[in-house]
């Protein structure tokens, strides 16, 4: 038995919005792979919950007419990885989702929950931020769209109004068309571990594959929330694909990141791997995009 005070079950999005307004003290539970553990640990003991897990309309990935990829917030990590639209257009997101926990966790954990818990180490969050994803929230007044960078307010705090739930994550065509990316999770173990640091990069190359038109990079555990490093991105735009540029990218990334020492790793160690992650992720992104090195 969990130490839960009361559970309210939402059967639709409207139901969830109504319950949010009626029971402002209650927490939203999606798959519960974070929340139920916190309850078990006693941190959230005695809480009220609104379960949205059984709202099937929030599951699945689709492609809108304008090319926007729409990921229902309750889509599990495993379902993201297996999805053909994800594999075709943003395969790095499916690969990042496949790094979470183990098979059981990837079936219960949801991509919406991975962003709503506001955790910097979340494996899908850095890739979503590197693709400028848009968070769709539904509340009593209708839908509200928030760029994912603004969605994260501070550690464990995201921009969800008291009457809202997250209903989808959107990736615009201009954010993924022509881009190739790579996610690297650095952790002590190959499975069932939380990232010491993670890095998701993607690039868009010129038609002759010799010049970087655009590069984006986002870290997990480089700060309290997933963090884009603009210095690195600016340092390589419009420049030829070369080993020197990869070095400039890594140096730029280290100017922006601000990791801390925690029981998982020291600040110094995180800085060391973050420089290396920038190199590897950019190099692999360029290779995937068919880059021609000079």
């Amino acid at each position: 038995m969990y130490d839960i005070n009361k559970i309210y079950e939402a059967n639709s999005v409207e139901d969830a919005v109504r319950l949010r307004m009626e029971e402002p003290q209650a927490r939203i539970i999606a798959g519960g792979s974070d929340l139920l553990i916190s309850i078990r640990a006693g941190d959230l003991a005695g809480c009220d919950l609104i379960s949205i897990y059984t709202i099937d309309e929030l599951r699945g990935v689709s492609l809108d007419d304008d090319g926007t990829i729409r990921i229902g917030s309750l889509t599990s990590f495993a379902a993201v990885t297996k999805n053909e639209i994800i594999q075709k257009y943003v395969r790095v997101l499916g690969e990042a989702a496949d790094k979470v926990g183990g098979p059981q966790i990837r079936n219960i954990g949801t991509i919406g929950g991975n962003t709503c818990n506001g955790v910097t180490s979340a494996d899908t969050a850095s890739t979503l931020m590197a693709y400028d994803a848009i968070i769709e929230l539904t509340g009593s007044e209708g839908k509200r769209l928030v760029p994912i960078e603004e969605f994260y307010l501070r550690a464990k705090r995201v921009d969800i109004h008291p009457d809202e739930i997250q209903t989808a994550i959107l990736i615009r065509p201009e954010s993924y068309r022509g881009y190739e990316g790579f996610y690297y999770k650095y952790a002590m173990r190959g499975a069932m571990d939380i990232a010491t640091s993670g890095c998701s990069a993607n690039v868009k190359l010129s038609e002759d594959k010799k010049t970087i038109v655009d590069a984006r990079i986002c870290y997990g555990v480089a700060g309290p929330i997933p963090m884009r490093t603009r210095s690195a991105e600016q340092a390589v735009k419009g420049l030829p694909v070369s080993k020197e540029i990869v070095e400039a990218f890594a140096a730029g990334a280290l100017q922006d990141v601000n990791p801390r020492t925690s029981w998982r790793a020291t600040k110094e160690f995180r800085l060391h791997i973050q420089g290396e992650l920038a190199r590897r992720c950019l190099t692999e992104s360029i290779n995937r995009a068919g880059g021609i090195w000079s």
């Binding site: 038995m1 969990y2 079950e9 139920l36 897990y53 059984t54 926990g101 059981q104």
Partner: protein
């Protein structure tokens, strides 16, 4: 004092439809053990890390300790008890664990069997590395995993050979 909240749910359990009234705060593992006596579902860590409580829900692996019992409503749940024939004959994957000495203390075994059963049902041929990745959510502190991988590989090869023979 916390007020009691019960919900009546109906689901398929090991092939049979069942209806029960469950405390809404209960986990699926609690319900399966306490209300249905399915003690193959082990409670190890109770935080979704060890995999001892693994069951199949709609054919996919889930850690039943971090799955609310009410979420089972309308779903198809399978435990190790559901792999055994009515006459008590055990399944191929269970026999393979015995044959390959993949069991020592046995606590993790039911969870491993269910994760393995899911893999066998996909009809895919997995490499040993792939099997390790697919079984990474189950922990064994006795065997060192080697014999477990041997057992799953053996049962997989046997099922694939049987399937190929039929076609």
């Amino acid at each position: 004092m916390i007020e009691k909240q019960f919900k009546t749910i109906t689901f398929t359990l090991n092939g049979k439809q069942v209806t029960t009234s469950v405390d809404m705060r209960e986990s699926l593992s609690d319900m399966l053990r306490n209300d249905f006596g399915l003690t193959s579902v082990k409670k190890g860590c109770e935080v979704g890390e060890c995999g001892a409580c693994t069951v199949l829900v709609n054919g996919e692996v889930f850690a039943s300790c971090i799955f609310l019992a009410i979420w089972a409503d309308g779903k198809d749940v399978l435990t190790v008890e559901g792999l055994v024939d009515v006459d008590g004959t055990i399944s191929d994957i269970q026999q393979a664990f015995i044959d390959e000495t993949a069991v020592q203390c046995g606590f993790c075994t039911p969870g491993f069997i269910m994760s393995a059963e899911h893999l066998l049902r996909t009809g895919k041929r997995y490499t040993r590395d792939e099997l390790r990745k697919e079984l990474a959510g189950n922990m064994c502190r006795c065997t060192g995993y080697h014999n477990i991988i041997n057992a799953v590989e053996k049962a997989m090869n046997a099922r694939l050979a049987k399937k190929a023979g039929k076609e």
